[in-house]
């Protein structure tokens, strides 16, 4: 039997008394590539914080790689949503990746590493950069990289410790369409060696690239499907598909054609959705 990467059992979490996650249960086998979709405020990022041990649940159980959250150390790689990293921070690409090897607790704070330890860190960081295709950029300043390259560098930092589970928070949010496709291809490649849980609001990007989908909107519904269906889309977007205008649905990301074409809403937009649909030229 496949071991479980994640076990959530009747989990709930509340901010100021209001439950943002309620009765969440999930048994995710190792090796999966799970996309966590859902509307803003639905609890996706809170779920990640619970998995990382950065927040404590109000109740219920969580096991990550068979242990309590926060106890798995370097077995978990994490890519936060990079809205707060200073663009001018003085660090090379190799230096940024090596930060992923910091040890937890006070032992990891010490900057006085011996030469052998420094060389070993450098080698590990370079290997991680090779895996994401950035080895030739190792000596450049991180701020000199493009948005897509920076995301690859941050993925390298997340995998430098050789994790079994990779948690990603909106990895495609700040990159252009081409880089997005390249990132998804890279993640599919990494998925051969590790379980991936990826939070995203961009539904079209994950469509067909993952092995399963979880829709989180206070509760969690797991679907063992790699492609979005109209039902999954409606659940993840938190909308009633039949009653919604397709043009508005496009705002939820690159909506696949089969989702838009699955329903017809003659009372709205005067056919504008058909123009939007044809203008997308291929969707998924």
């Amino acid at each position: 039997m496949q071991p479980l990467a994640l076990e959530l059992n009747d989990l709930w979490f509340a901010y100021d008394g209001a439950r943002v996650l309620d009765r969440v249960s999930l048994a995710l086998p190792a090796g999966e590539f799970l996309a966590v979709l859902g509307p803003n405020g639905g609890g996706k990022s809170t779920l990640l914080r619970l998995l990382l041990g950065l927040a404590r649940p109000g109740g219920g159980g969580i096991r990550v790689l068979g242990r309590e959250p926060g106890q798995a150390g370097g077995r978990i790689g994490y890519l936060p949503q990079h809205t707060d990293v200073s663009a001018n921070f003085p660090i090379t690409v190799l230096g940024a990746v090596a930060l992923g090897l910091v040890r937890p607790g006070f032992l990891g704070l010490c900057g006085l590493l011996g030469p052998a330890a420094r060389r070993a860190e450098g080698r590990a960081a370079l290997l991680a950069l090779e895996r994401v295709g950035l080895a030739d950029q190792a000596g450049r300043r991180l701020s000199d990289l493009s948005g897509g390259q920076r995301q690859r560098a941050f993925i390298a930092r997340a995998i430098v410790s050789g994790p079994e589970l990779l948690l990603l928070d909106e990895p495609t949010a700040s990159v252009d369409g081409k880089s997005r496709q390249e990132l998804m291809a890279l993640l599919a490649q990494l998925n051969r060696d590790m379980t991936i849980v990826m939070v995203s609001h961009d539904m079209g990007t994950v469509d067909g690239c993952v092995t399963s989908i979880a829709c989180v909107n206070r509760g969690l519904h797991y679907h063992a499907e790699s492609k979005l269906t109209p039902e999954i889309f409606a659940e993840a977007a938190g909308v009633d598909l039949k009653a919604s205008c397709p043009v508005e649905l496009v705002a939820h990301g690159a909506v696949p054609h089969r989702v838009l074409l699955d329903h017809d809403h003659p009372d709205c937009c005067g056919g504008a959705h058909r123009q939007a649909d044809s203008g997308r030229g291929g969707g998924a």
């Binding site: 990382l52 950065l54 926060g70 150390g73 978990i76 994490y78 936060p80 990079h82 707060d84 990293v85 200073s86 001018n88 921070f89 003085p90 660090i91 090379t92 230096g95 940024a96 930060l99 992923g100 910091v102 937890p104 607790g105 006070f106 990891g108 704070l109 010490c110 900057g111 006085l112 590493l113 000596g139 450049r140 300043r141 701020s143 000199d144 930092r157």
Partner: protein
């Protein structure tokens, strides 16, 4: 310049300036990359309460100010961690409260305190040997702590969310950083005064950040720039009979303006 070096007060001033440069290079770089210049300004101005307290109690100024500003810094560190929503407002209140307390305590202190202005605008030409020794000791402590915790400070400064996820004790590091800022501020008060301290904490690191390839390189370059500003400012004040602290800051501001006209570096392998 050689003529000026013949005077002990000028040699002391140079030494004080160089010590302040080293400490501002290290701590200022951490202030800039952590984007806590407003917090550091709050600590600097609140420390005036410590100056007032020292005068009121008739105690040595630097040790009392050090204790007071450290308490203020730790209070502000707590506010920024646990009451984020209105942290800037609370820091503004502590900033003003410290200064008001200092002024009231000085009002209540009998006699005329001619030395008072030196803490506001600096008196690098009147730094006594005892203060120099205290500055050297504090510099050694600050540098030792910054070196010992450099890895943690780097990880936290770069990406605090990632640092938390890796189990790095971010809370401890934040309090440590604010404590180091307090020590740095008290040291630099003698050089440029608490009103101008922000310039030395921010201008050289800002200029260095655009050209350095590592945080350590930024600290080094920042310390060198700071030393150049201090020496040039001191010479200017000696030659033109100007206030020394203001002259140092004027030179730093000129350097800042010049750096904005130059292209940012960091692309070449030879950068710091």
């Amino acid at each position: 310049m050689m003529e000026a070096l013949g005077f002990e007060f000028f040699r002391n001033a140079l030494l004080a300036g160089l010590l302040a440069s080293v400490i501002c290079g290290v701590i200022g770089s951490l202030v800039v990359v952590n984007r806590i210049a407003f917090l550091a300004g709050g600590v600097a101005h609140a420390s005036y309460g410590g100056v007032g307290l020292a005068f009121f109690l008739g105690l040595p100024v630097l040790p009392v100010t050090l204790g007071f500003s450290t308490c203020a810094a730790l209070g502000m560190a707590w506010v920024t961690l646990d009451a984020r929503e209105r942290a800037d407002t609370v820091i503004g209140v502590l900033w003003a409260a410290g200064m008001a307390l200092g002024i009231i305590l000085l009002d209540l202190t009998p006699g005329y305190n001619s030395d008072l202005m030196s803490y506001l605008f600096g008196s690098i030409l009147a730094v006594p040997r005892a203060d120099l020794l205290l500055m050297a000791g504090l510099s050694a402590v600050v540098l030792a702590l910054a070196a010992a915790f450099s890895r943690g400070l780097l990880v936290m400064s770069f990406d605090v969310e990632f640092a938390r996820s890796r189990g790095v004790p971010v809370r401890f590091l934040h309090f440590l950083l604010m404590g180091l800022v307090a020590v740095c501020v008290v040291m630099v008060i003698r050089v440029v005064g608490l009103i101008l301290v922000m310039a030395l904490l921010t201008i050289p690191p800002f200029m260095a950040e655009r050209r350095a390839r590592s945080l350590a390189g930024m600290m080094l370059l920042s310390a060198v720039l700071s030393a150049v500003f201090c020496v040039a400012g001191l010479y200017l004040s000696y030659a033109l009979d100007l206030t020394s602290g203001a002259s140092i800051i004027a030179v730093a501001c000129a350097g800042f303006a010049l750096s904005l006209c130059l292209p940012a570096g960091g692309q070449g392998r030879g950068s710091a």
